[in-house]
Point group: C2
Chain length 309, copies 2
């Protein structure tokens, strides 16, 4: 957590991580602007300035960034599923737009860019579990390749122009303000269906193992890299533990004291079987650690859904 | 070298490596088509079918590839110097066009794509010298990031669609048919100026160390991956030895028995100080090894220039 107050712009401030981050930054006394095409929860951002704009529109982006010191880049226009359907479009919307962002940030004197990368897709079917930041990056989705290319451009910009950056490779975050859109957020999908007693489609047989992390812990990591002075640039952010989807379903069933209605579908080729991140670097270098036990996070998520959002 | 005859299309068949490759493939009895915007040496390709086309034009590309089994992808529209000036354009011309190529190749049933990547830029300022294929890839040029992104998409296409690929990360090739355009090919630049008794501009102080490899050895490596059945996908191709630019200048001066006229300029930020590739993997797996001593290669290059091309 930073001692001093900064001015921060959160690109993708209207999304799941974005809303959570903006709220936390505002409570910590930072000047915060949220940038995005739309905000799903405007009332949640009452302490934050909302700036409507499209990431692909460089003029809007430059106007939004203005004099802000720290840029949180949380935007990604595609999902691991959708990116493979139009790889050129994925590259255009995410990577080319980020190049424009880098150029704008450099011109406007931005101090630091914090980028949320993908701990779940960037390594591919990694043989090393839990996976270190130094593991080979062999994504099997265009989504992962795009994230990787952005990481490389960030490093290049710091090398040539001194534009500071930090990259968080975030595992599978869950929590309040996550809504099940575009096939993302399996916990949000499970809970939202369960409380309406609806059936949910699940791809695979429930054996896929993921590293689920409660959103508050991700936000704490994002805050801590605002002022990190180490020579590290990339940090895995996860719980450090793996849970199968069947275990997650079991936990939700226990909390709700009901059986979920699930329709099982054939697994998707973009899903790697196991993804668990090693978080030793973030622990050692940032002094950060996840502090919310899985079941506590699940209960808070459930409470949020039950509160009618 | 492959035992059977194949049909091969060489994208970038009119360029330095392309002309050398097409000639060798044709002599080996393969059916060869060269694809490109222009051919600098049409008479050199008299045994080869020339197909004029722009790599960015997917329709032309699909028509050119037709029933060819093996695609050699040697095209790159930018240089390490020019790519950083327009990174979005670099991405568009090279990476987006390659995505179209992959899609076309998959649809047309291409058996294998052989891609020439960049041994000199993909690793960045690597601390490990000589550099193994498993070293971190931290390019400091958009050129290197583009090459890396293409490598990742190739791996993804093989993973999802079974489209075979091999990648050669080639060091600094030199030899006949290399002409000094777009600031590439320092040996070609030195020799061409020297025999006209002209002054040449050199960036830096001559201390940069590179791994120069004679073109015939690169072509032999390209031939050997046509039929490689190993589970390796990426091979460094270099001489395995480093030479400073001053040493190269000295060798040319000795061969020509004259002093070169050089105008020294400030070094460029895209130049890493040392680049030497470890070629153990190619030796072990492909049974390939460079066989042309540096000075022999230099003499052959000189002979080619003196022959009036």
């Amino acid at each position: 957590m930073t001692a001093r107050r900064s001015s921060c712009i959160v690109l993708g401030g209207g999304g799941f991580l974005g809303v959570n981050l903006c709220r936390r930054l505002a409570s910590a006394g930072h000047r915060v602007r949220a940038f995005g095409r739309r905000c799903l929860f405007p009332e949640a951002l009452d302490q934050v300035e909302w700036y409507q704009g499209d990431f692909c529109d460089a003029t809007a982006l430059a106007a939004a960034i203005e004099t802000y010191e720290i840029v949180f880049h949380l935007l990604h226009a595609t999902t691991p599923q959708s990116a493979n359907l139009d790889m050129a479009g994925d590259l255009q919307q995410n990577v080319v737009s980020t190049l424009a962002l880098l150029d704008i940030s450099r011109r406007l004197g931005v101090k630091r860019i914090v980028f949320v990368s993908s701990g779940g897709t960037i390594y591919g079917s990694c043989k090393q579990i839990p996976t270190l930041e130094t593991a080979p990056t062999e994504p099997i989705t265009a989504y992962g390749v795009g994230k990787l290319a952005i990481e490389k451009y960030l490093a290049m910009y710091e090398h040539h122009y001194g534009l500071q950056h930090r990259i968080l490779r975030v595992a599978n975050p869950f929590g309040p303000f996550q809504v099940p859109i575009k096939n993302q957020g399996v916990i949000a999908a499970l809970i939202s269906r369960a409380i309406k007693n609806e059936t949910i489609e699940i791809w695979g047989d429930g054996s896929v193992v993921r590293d689920y992390i409660f959103v508050d812990d991700v936000i704490a990591a994002l805050q801590s890299v605002m002022s990190d002075q180490s020579d590290m640039r990339i940090f895995n952010i996860g719980s450090g533990c793996g849970r199968s989807l069947l275990e997650v379903i079991g936990s939700i069933e226990t909390l709700l004291n009901m059986e979920l209605k699930i329709e099982w579908r054939r697994s998707r080729p973009v899903d790697v079987p196991v993804s668990i991140l090693s978080i030793e670097r973030a622990k050692t270098v940032l002094g950060w650690a996840p502090s919310t036990p899985f079941k506590v996070g699940l209960q808070r998520t459930l409470d949020w859904w039950k509160s009618g959002k």
